[in-house]
Symmetry: C2
Subunit: 121 residues, 2 copies
């Protein structure tokens, strides 16, 4: 009998409090599933090499674009196409699932001090 | 102002009733996000070329393996590794999100009459 364990996203989110610091919860081929807590504004950036999927679990996330914005609530998904500048903004604390290639950096082409190397949780 | 639209998973699921007939809702690079409704037993199969991610949205899904099983409730994720035989079973209707390469066939190496070509919804 092997040990097959469900990954409970809310339980994983309960294990940390840092904002804009994604934690890896699963791997699918060379992609990572990451949970993250957001509050406040992130920085404008893009990922020239990859699309990036956002699925909101709790709260509300606004993704600002140079030509508009989309607001995501729980159970809502959006895929930011590669190379498209975006700025995540959460007025209140928001919990989400990110799906992207394992090598994707949170700050994309912008880099800087808000760059984090995500850890498994 | 461009038209950025959230993809609401429950709204997408309200648009069809067929069981074991995944519908594509989003694309991330060469991967598809698919919503599906399951009820009853599927068949034993594996995907020799790819991992496959299951995220339950509503209801309960059992993934049976040759050496055990995992039960997933809402907000729970499991990644079936490539080549691992599995059989999805839902005693009652279950709604879920699948994430896998665009070319992935629902019946994997088993094939047969339950194979479906997923459409966008």
């Amino acid at each position: 009998m092997s040990d097959h364990q469900a990954i409970n996203l809310r339980q994983k989110l309960s294990l940390f409090h840092e904002k804009y610091s994604p934690r890896i919860v699963a791997q699918l081929n060379d992609y990572h599933f990451k949970v993250a807590k957001l509050e406040g504004e992130f920085l404008w950036h893009s990922h020239p090499e990859t699309d990036e999927a956002f699925l909101v679990i709790e709260g509300e996330l606004t993704l600002e674009f140079r030509d508009g914005a989309v607001v995501l609530g729980p159970g809502e998904l959006y895929v930011v196409p590669r190379g498209v500048e975006h700025k995540p903004v959460a007025e209140k604390e928001c919990h989400l699932l990110l799906i992207e290639p394992a090598a994707t950096v949170n700050t994309g082409d912008a880099g800087g001090e808000r760059t984090v190397i995500p850890q498994w949780i």
